[in-house]
Symmetry: C2
Amino acid sequence: MRIKQLEYLEAVIETGSINEAAKRLYLTQPSLSSAIKDLEKEMGITILQRSNAGVRLTADGREFMNYAKQILDQVHLLDDRFKKQQPLHQSFAVSAQHYAFVVNAFVELLKKINAPTYKFTLRETETENIFNDLRTFKSELGVLYINN
Amino acid sequence: MRIKQLEYLEAVIETGSINEAAKRLYLTQPSLSSAIKDLEKEMGITILQRSNAGVRLTADGREFMNYAKQILDQVHLLDDRFKKQQPLHQSFAVSAQHYAFVVNAFVELLKKINAPTYKFTLRETETENIFNDLRTFKSELGVLYINN
DNA sequence: TCGATTTACGCTCGACGTAACTATG
DNA sequence: CATAGTTACGTCGAGCGTAAATCGA
């Protein structure tokens, strides 16, 4: 049993669908499906009742989740205490020419992410510097617009 | 972070030595060492103070273990409830000729394991049947003695 | 130099992906 | 037939191994 599997299961139950949960977890539906299956096999119980309308907890599954939730809560406590300190410095920088559509896209991104995990930077610079920024890993993404 | 890592760490702390813990966990010392290192790196703290006399908990490590112990306790609760039901049928069988040293070794094994997890069987049979038992997976181990 | 840990590096297995299949309203 | 799920199978990385290096009493 892996902590990840419990987190996966939690997401599946919250969404009521392996498909939806897979999207939220950024993995493919078959991968998630087999991860859950592996867990069920290891525990020797059926946790989910599958149908074409999604999934529902079985009685065993409901009891299992009670235990699993306890574990996840403890894991979160530990993570909060120790883990999340330094990822604050993580940054995502874009170097681009000065164009409105770049700024718009960047703002859209900020809206979507909306988390304090990353430090976002948009460098508007000359074309040549875009290449330099990427080569020196100063920026993660470069945007060029070539007008024909 | 994996549950295994926490269990590894627990064993290391209980024994006060990566070497000893590795033996208890049936893995090699370097593997265990790097597993612990990975955990420390992920958490961004130093858990163990290494020396040529073994290891000791740092202040961070002591606090970390308080959290980890909670997680492990919850995991054990879950395992006890669901997991350990069927492994009772697991069996370990030996096919061998009738020799005192085989019986002695088998008894030694029983003493050492001393757990109700396995069903032990010793089949004393003719040489040819030893091969058959292994081929059909009836036994896990065959013992032949060739007298010169 | 002995007994502990770490570093270097190779292999295998498992986690995840893609493609194709199944089933039900 | 659309939308849920699973099965089949390939790939890549992580976990574990072995061998050699390091380090302190």
